[in-house]
């Protein structure tokens, strides 16, 4: 990463100008001021790198936003080169299960047998880990463990466990590297936003093996596309089916069907073939659970679909709606023992009539019942309002202006959930561009860490220490246990412990004590000025300014700037 030489502008002058500038209300779109450009870069990306503010000032805000709304047109080969070394990011779920997850389970069991202690439930039957953290990660500077699938499947248990861990170690690193280095900054912000909206928890059983594909194939392709398509992709993904238990959601009547099917097995004939498959699936699930087959509905997914994915908690649904939605999604499953492909099981489906949000869904619809529910939800005004509110919270303010939410919701309704259009409505709104939206949000830990690396132009050879920092800061990536996802608003992130942890991160970064992350040594004065102008864009108190001026070393200047109150906001 190249360091631009500092511009010979006296920082004090810049500050004075900024402080004295009246709130203009609106950005000059063609030639934005430095603070305005910084605002755009902070909110639509992970903060300015040295030189970014000048770049936006050169091409103009409108053109930059337009570019970002078309990520496919942006060259991102530098990032791709950084990700090329990871071995699991491009694999499909079946391969990850076969070559990484299952060998790890076998090894864990073998180890338990060898120790012949009391049988411990493996994390894979334990639905949820208590600690909300990934298993201990390898030492930060060590290269990513790359136990070959063959060797890990063979004998050495510890290597096999590492092979399971590598899935998450790579995901965490990839997420950070994308946030830091991708030129498609808005896309990365949106992938984070939508993953969090449809949160799944890597600590629940085999979910970890499905997350790579979930983020890559289910979330990423739709973040500027169709909400309806993303919703169905999520509903039929093994990650969500497992995390919210819908894979087990079965009509109470299915018990009879199961018996019939098992009897059917003994009567061979072409007409019974699907029945055999069904019975096989149920048996496989029974084996997976170590018990007899389950029957009866499970409301978990249905409730979160309404509360968290679409209508919002005050969106106007009842407990009856939840039960009916759960019935509509009976039989939406997959066969953990046989692969990860979505599978609709007619034998498990409740084919009776349902009533959802006052609409009748006639019986006999099969898989179409669930699709019909998704259609209803996407067309519902509560969904438009809920999605508009969340996007406005992410991009504009913790308590977004009602007029903006209304406009974005209208755009959602008009376009039937075209997320590119809804996003555009939010990020080109006067409310977003208004100068007073600037710095009203406290950065989340991910935004803080990624923006710190971008601000300092640090070179990341290993992102592991950054992933560890996020755990210390209370935001372990992929390990948010509740389906709610991480908070979009600031309050919970502003705690004394969190601030101390941010100061410590700043000190470690400044002193080059994060192994695998290095800040080039350069002229202290130049670095200081670059941080003031290019990163804080002049938003800096006289106290912080004085402290920066006193900093004797580059270490201290970096630590002070990154740990400063000003840098915690965007």
């Amino acid at each position: 990463m190249s360091h631009r030489p500092a511009r010979p502008v006296a920082a004090a002058v810049v500050i004075t100008l900024v402080l004295q500038a009246p709130a203009t209300g609106m950005l000059a779109l063609s030639a934005p001021s430095a603070p305005s450009a910084a605002h755009i870069l902070n909110r639509l990306g992970y903060g300015p790198r040295p030189g970014d503010i000048a770049r936006i000032q050169r091409i103009g805000v409108e053109a930059w936003i337009e570019q970002q709304l078309h990520p496919e047109r942006i060259d991102d080969r530098m990032l791709e080169a950084r990700l090329a070394a990871f071995e699991t990011l491009t694999l499909d779920s079946e391969t990850i299960v076969r070559e990484y997850h299952e060998p790890a389970i076998r090894a864990r069991r073998a180890r338990q047998l060898a120790q012949s202690g009391p049988p411990q439930p493996s994390p894979d039957v334990q639905g949820q880990r208590g600690d909300g953290r990934p298993a201990a990660s390898p030492s930060p500077a060590a290269p990513v463990p790359s136990a070959s699938p063959a060797s890990s499947a063979a004998s050495v248990p510890s290597a096999a466990s590492a092979s399971d861990r590598v899935i998450l170690v790579e995901l965490e690193q990839a997420k950070l590297l994308r946030a830091i280095y991708s030129e498609r900054q808005l896309q990365e912000v949106l992938v984070d936003f939508w993953f969090n909206h449809f949160n799944v928890f890597a600590g629940k059983g085999p979910t970890r093996a499905y997350i790579t594909s979930f983020e890559r194939d289910v979330i990423r392709p739709h973040v500027l596309g169709s909400f309806r398509q993303m919703l169905e992709a999520v509903a039929s993904s093994p990650a969500m089916l497992f995390y919210l238990d819908n894979w087990m959601n079965t009509s109470p009547e299915a018990a009879r069907a199961d018996r019939t099917l098992r009897q059917g097995q003994r009567r061979p004939g072409p007409t019974r073939a699907p029945g055999r498959a069904e019975a096989g699936a149920l048996r496989a699930q029974r084996q997976a659970e170590g018990r007899s087959p389950t029957r009866g509905i499970n409301e978990n997914y249905a409730r979160e679909l309404l509360e968290l994915h679409t209508l919002g908690v005050d969106g106007g649904y009842t407990q009856d709606d939840i039960v009916n939605v759960a019935r509509a999604f009976t039989g939406w499953t997959f066969r953990p023992r046989q692969g990860t492909a979505f599978h609709f099981s007619p034998a498990r489906h409740d084919d009776g009539e349902k009533r959802v949000l006052g609409q009748r869904i006639a019986g006999g619809g099969g898989i179409e019942d669930g699709r019909r529910v998704l259609d209803l939800l996407v067309a519902h005004p509560s969904t438009a309002r809920f999605i508009a509110t969340k996007l406005a919270q992410r991009f504009v303010a913790d308590e977004p202006p009602q007029a903006l939410v209304d406009r974005a919701a209208r755009r959602f309704a008009e376009t039937r959930g075209d997320l590119g259009e809804v996003t555009r409505a939010v990020i080109t709104s006067p409310e977003f561009l208004a100068a007073d939206a600037g710095r009203s949000k406290v950065k989340t830990p991910l935004e803080f860490v990624a923006s710190a690396i971008r601000a300092t132009g640090a070179e990341v050879r290993s992102a592991l220490p950054l992933a560890r920092a996020l755990r210390d800061l209370g935001m372990p990536l992929y390990f948010c246990q509740p389906p709610t996802g991480y908070d979009e608003v600031a309050d919970p992130w502003v705690s004394s412990g969190a601030l101390v942890a941010r100061m410590n991160f700043a000190l470690e970064l400044g002193a080059n004590r994060l192994r695998g992350v290095s800040i080039g040594d350069g002229d202290v004065t130049a670095l200081r000025e670059r941080i003031v102008q290019d990163v804080l864009a002049g938003h800096i108190s006289t106290t912080t300014r004085a402290a920066l001026d006193r900093a004797a070393t580059a270490d201290q200047a970096v630590a002070l700037a990154i740990g400063s109150p000003e840098f915690q906001r965007q």
Partner: protein
Amino acid sequence: MFLKSGAMALVTLGFAPSFLARTVEAAGTRKKLLIAIFQRGAVDGLNMVVPFGEDEYHRARPTIAIARPGRTDGAVDLDGFFGLHPRMAVLKPLWDQGHLAVVHASGSHDATRSHFDAQDYMESATPGVKSTRDGWLNRYLQAVDEARNPLRGVALTRQMPRALQGPASALAMGSVSSFAVRGDMAAKATFEAAYAGAADRVLNGTAAEAFDAMRTLAREAGTRSRPLGLTSYPRSPFGQALQEIASLAKADVGLEVAFAESTGWDHHANEGGATGQMANRLDDFSHGIAALAQDLGDRLADTVILTMSEFGRAVAENGSRGTDHGHGNAMMIIGGAVKGRRVLGEWPGLARERRFEARDLAVTTDFRDVFAEVVTAHLGASPAAAARVFPGYRVDPARFRGLFRA
């Protein structure tokens, strides 16, 4: 002075005879203490404090019910009708000593089955009202006029829990040991000055509390004692958080309200019965609490440990051998002054027609009746102060359950 530091040295080593420990404590400004424990994810209270005496319980839960006491893996009998989950047997001595009571069928009058809303309502203690800005524990700290000391209210969590959010000084930290700026004096002083000079009142106030607290903790570091008691804390984040709380409670830092959380209770599938997922969580939960009670030693006399969860789970198990979101739940209260050995509240029964919305355990005790009794009878808040802690709710001692010995 010599005696004090000598005794402290002994406490630090864990060898202090109890009379010396008492002397040390008496020398400080020891306050009544509330340790609030939130079971996030809605614990299945019917499998935690089991109404084994009711046939409907066993009928509604063919695969996950806990067997009657005396049978294999049966419940730990409390009073002939209720029993503890077998993995909670470690808490039975506290029951036998009269230090543990349960308030069953307690919860919120609000019907929400959303984790997020229900946690919010319980932590703000204003069910149905989302606009409440601060949490009930913070309002307690506000209502009782005290010198500003951020260590009055401490959450051993990385994020500030909703219950402690608000204008009164309070701290949230992942652990006490991580709560220090790891730089030289100059770096610390500069950060402190930068935050003190910031116009940003939110960050400025939070940082001021952090620096105050760091100084106090550094000063008191020598007095923090090793755990007392035979039960060791689980090596889980929950166990570690409780251990840190005990250590703060025993040091002279002015702690009045502590908060910890236990996660992973949302068992929609394969919940298990006497063994399995929930049993493992209960094991961690109850071993943590048992160790805490022992470790507090004499301090337990003026401490209340109160457990809570956002709502209970449906009476009947679902199609996946788990339980879906329900309503009423069980709270546990432990302390030296607790009038224990009792399951309090009115038991509404589990028969279908007795259930809330024909599916869930009904609520017969407003959780605020329990909170309010703790705030007044234990923490000693005046009626006027208690009224400020619970806006929109009339604090009425007639509704209290009689948690404490007179």
